[in-house]
Amino acid sequence: MSTEQHEVQFATAPEGAVLLEARGVTMRFGGLLAVNAVDMSVRSGEIVGLIGPNGAGKTTFFNCLTGLYRPTGGQVSFAGRPLPPRPRKVVQAGMARTFQNIRLFQNMTALENVMVGRYCRTSAGPLTSIVRGPKFRREEAATRARAQELLGFVGIPEAGESLARNLSYGDQRRLEIARALATDPQLLLLDEPTAGMNPQETRQAEELIFRIRDSGLAVVVIEHDMRFIFNLCDRVLCLVQGEVLVQGTPEQVQSDPRVIEAYIGTSDEGETGDA
């Protein structure tokens, strides 16, 4: 079991079905329009890239999708049903995320972190937990087994008993993915999963995301590493100042002059545009 290839079953939606449908999502912070009428749809089995210069509103867009922010405008629906901006409802519907600045439960073990992810898919209530009957034990054992399985899937099967804070940076990012996978998502939102990684770790992350896609999940990934994005994604959206500038295949986006301009010439462009 020392190799990294752990096969894990995921509940998935039928190939090609529309999972996420965001229409005109808008987020305004006082005078700042951080996200402005962004449309995005994601089908199952797809990897979608979200790029854009710093402060373009990518993370804010994720927060709107996952209910951490209540968008000031627009609509999000998941698998055909409208999604209220409540994190718990979002997770229950089948969308899970990771954070740009790692937000693990630092003083819990890696295994416990992943087990917390199982919270919304388990049901033991107060009484059952206090009595600790056979049903409770079975569910607890299943939770533990699944969590261990996911640690194996992301490539850190031995880390289970370590505290999250004691893991290496790269392993912490993997653990965050495992924790998100524990919620049985159909769509995974990754916010800069390779930030701060060395080239080798980046390659491993790439390979992990492919494996997640191959098990039938859809992935939306925010990244600044263009090589990574263009290797990985079926479709790319470029966000600039809260608006979708370009979207298309990696080749289309890569060769679009407006994208290059946005990355190189943002500051003065932005200021004249605003004024």
């Binding site: 087990m115 206090i130 370590s162 505290l163 804070r165």
Partner: protein, 569 residues
């Protein structure tokens, strides 16, 4: 934390001098109890004899002996403790703790003699020699280089050894508690506390403490069962005397309530400053339904039903307070619960019939709550059990033990479940927990209302125990003391909170002077604790980490994979 001004270089250079100083101190400490410490036998126990140590002086001798053992053991036992065993014990650290313990002990006794006899002139040369000896010992051990941490905690021992150690520890605890409660001289009581604290500190430093906790983790059932056996056996040591049993039941009521609060504060991380109100709610409900002649309600259901109603009423109050406040994060809950505690008391005072219904007789409360009668067992009557008379308070004592056992089961099982993991996650990072699908609001509300339920149950028993229930028993100060017990003892641990509750409740009972200045003393105690040991007397591993965020060494130590790898080596 650098309390020791002596640098490691200095220690290396003067280690032999230090060792000799400490040795002289130890020998003098052992010798001094044979000299007279006081001019009059009115102070503490009789310390006036030459060559006739009193029991209290013997404790000083014992600490000196412990110090001597710590100093000589590395040399004498070098043959036995060779190789892998060389690092089992941290004798130098043990010696430091023993010297410090001896100093505190002797200082308490000397000051006690001075206070009880009116002036330091009443202290005779034996006392001064002991004090100098303790100072020498502290100075000497300061010069000893620190040990690497003892590795005894990682050693696996056979079951019989662990179980017999548990038995011995429990027996010693029982005898000690019985002895301490019988002691009515406050100074001796404090000196005894200092002695016990000193010995425990030595054991912890030496590595025996860690060994005990790691080994008993494998025999948790035996440990818990024997602890309850000891608690159960306590009334039999009292020989029908009700005085100590009355104190013991008050301690247990306080401990049960503190354990309930520990779920709210220690597990869910919610600061509840009005917890006593839930106890009061339970007590008032039970008193009203008790059939007391002063109760406004005629209905008198069996106690089982009353207990449930008390709990449910308390938890309903919890839901009413909690549901609006737990949605917002921050300190709102502390403020609202603080206010709620006051409102509760005022409402109880005002439900006297002059405005609104007469439920509580106002500030007079409800007196004449009859004793419990469970399945024909009358709690008001003494019973003879195993040839020992079990009085009224002892009856309640047993019932309270049952309540505490219940709360402990609830606490421990919730802690080791999906719900417990959810609470930890919320304490760690509320936003992330929410984003991972944890029902943050629901879990907080459950902790809050569930804690209130347990307080209500404890309150129902208290109403019968106290005979009368009045609003002024349920004031903010009581909430503050409950919280102090939880924080001092160690949030999120059962043993710690029990210890904190026993100490906080027992001390004012045994020490009249503490009772007068108890706010001052506890305030000072809390400040000191927050400075030097914010995780409490007994620290849960996770809490320790939460309080020492950036202590990497601690994180490695706590990390089981790291320790295991070390143990395998």
């Amino acid at each position: 934390m650098r309390l020791n001004p002596v640098t490691p270089e200095l220690q290396q250079r003067h280690r032999r001098t230090g060792w000799l100083l400490a040795l002289v101190g130890a020998v003098l400490l052992i010798g001094s109890p044979y000299l007279p410490w006081a001019w009059s036998d009115d102070a503490l126990d009789d310390m006036t004899y030459l060559f006739g140590p009193s029991p209290t002086q013997f404790l000083g001798l014992a600490l000196g002996a412990v110090l001597l053992v710590c100093l000589l053991a590395p040399r004498l036992l070098a043959r036995v403790l060779a190789g892998r065993r060389a690092r089992w014990f941290a004798f130098a650290d043990g010696a430091k703790a023993a010297a410090l313990g001896a100093l505190v002990f002797v200082a308490v006794v000397v000051v006690g003699i001075a206070v009880e006899l009116g002036g330091l002139v009443n202290v005779r040369y034996g006392g001064w020699i002991a004090l100098v000896a303790a100072l020498l010992a502290v100075a000497g051990t300061m010069l000893l280089p620190r040990d690497r941490p003892a590795t005894l905690g990682g050693v696996r021992s056979p079951g019989w050894l662990v179980i017999s150690t548990i038995a011995v520890v429990m027996l010693v605890t029982l005898l000690l508690v019985a002895y301490a409660l019988d002691e009515d001289d406050p100074v001796i009581f404090v000196a005894l506390l200092a002695f016990v604290a000193g010995v425990v500190a030595v054991l912890l430093k030496l590595g025996v403490g860690p060994w005990f906790s790691s080994q008993t983790a494998r025999h948790r059932g035996v440990l818990v069962a024997s602890a309850f056996l000891v608690a159960f056996a306590f009334p039999f040591t009292q020989d029908g005397s009700e005085a100590n049993m009355s104190i013991a039941t008050q301690v247990l009521i306080f401990a049960a309530t503190a354990l309930g609060l520990n779920i709210v504060v220690g597990l869910a991380g919610l600061l509840d400053l009005g917890y006593i109100a839930f106890l009061g709610a339970g007590a008032f409900v039970a008193a009203i339904l008790s059939g007391s002649a002063f109760s406004a309600v005629g209905w008198n259901p069996p106690f089982i039903v009353t207990v449930l109603i008390s709990g449910v009423v308390a938890s309903l109050l919890g839901l009413i307070i909690g549901s609006p406040t737990l949605r917002v994060s921050g300190d709102y809950l502390a403020i609202v619960t603080l206010a709620f505690g006051e409102i509760f008391r005022l409402v109880m005072i005002n439900l006297d019939g002059s405005d609104g219904p007469d439920l509580t007789n106002g500030s007079n409360g409800i007196p004449g709550v009859p004793d419990l009668d469970l399945l024909g067992f009358d709690f008001g009557e003494p019973h003879v059990l195993l040839g020992v008379e079990i009085g009224r308070f002892a009856n309640y004592y047993f019932l309270l033990l049952l309540v505490i056992a219940l709360i402990m089961v609830v606490f421990a099982n919730l802690n080791r479940s999906r719900i417990g993991r959810g609470w930890v996650a919320i304490r760690e990072d509320e936003k992330a927990a929410e984003a991972m699908g944890v029902n943050v609001f629901g879990l907080k509300l459950f902790a809050f209302a569930g804690g209130a339920f347990l307080a209500g149950v404890a309150g129902a028993v208290r109403a019968h125990h106290d005979i009368s229930v009045t609003p002024d028993q349920y004031i903010f100060l009581e909430s503050a003391f409950l919280l102090a017990a939880v924080v001092l003892g160690g949030m999120g641990t059962i043993v710690g909170v029990l210890l904190g509750a026993v100490l906080l409740r027992l001390m004012p009972e045994k020490l009249r002077f503490v009772d007068e200045y108890r706010l001052l003393i506890f305030g000072a105690l809390l400040v000191l604790m927050m400075r030097f040991r914010p995780e409490g007397l007994v620290a849960s591993r996770r809490r320790q980490l939460e309080f020492h965020e950036d202590d990497e060494e601690l994180a490695d130590k706590v990390d089981p994979t790291v320790t295991r790898a070390e143990g395998a080596r």
